[in-house]
Amino acid sequence: MGYRFLIVDDSATTRAIIRRTIQMAQVPADKVLEASNGMDALRLLAGEPIDLVLADLHMPEMDGVEMTRRLLADPAICHIPVVILSAEPSAERLEQLKRDGVRGYLRKPFTPEGVRNLITQTLEACHA
């Protein structure tokens, strides 16, 4: 059985890179869905079972911080882990995200190994 991922990034190129990275990392994936901002992601999460959300921080309409805040406030989906992949320069802010409920983060530009490690560590922690 594979995992179901949701990639949230306003850059279609970055979404494609992450999708390809998941394939290259040979993480078992049944389904990989995409959304271009936090609002679209929440709509998808309302109707699709997802195991892990990989989200950017800076997006139009709704950014990754607000998306995570709303996800955590919704009892139906608050169990879904969120990890952040972002060019965010502030280590302090990234650490704050973890205190606010984000399970992990990776600063862009990321490597396939970095993405694989982030995914496996997060999913293992959730299923421990």
Partner: protein, 152 residues
Amino acid sequence: MLETLSDSVANSLVDALEQMAFISALPPESPLAVPTQALLIRIGFRGPVCGRIDLLADEAVGVLIACNVLGPDCIDAPFRARDALKELLNVTCGTFLAQYPPVPGQAFEMSIPEVQPLDCVTWESMLAQGDFAPFDAEGHALAIRLADRNPS
């Protein structure tokens, strides 16, 4: 100091291009030719200091990035070129700002990059301002500068 920061922006671009797309950018051996499809991509930032980074690029660089990151069988690389260049500048800006010493309670905010086409005259007049660092990215023109930097 400004020269050092400009060098840092240029180095951040070279690193981002290398790490994102395995593309080498080197100082050109001759002046940059005006590309057929010239673009200006901009990103602003505010925090301990405020400013903007301007990237002049041949759209072909965006196609090259898309091809490299998505694989040789990516048929829609030309349609992803501008998106790829915006993401390149986003990553460049994040890499550059991450080098600033952290100031407690003053994190940087970056804007969403914007892209616009340029005509030949504007491309040449911008490069003539002399504050761009020019690069040859595997045969395609690229130039970057740190603009409007001010203490917040």
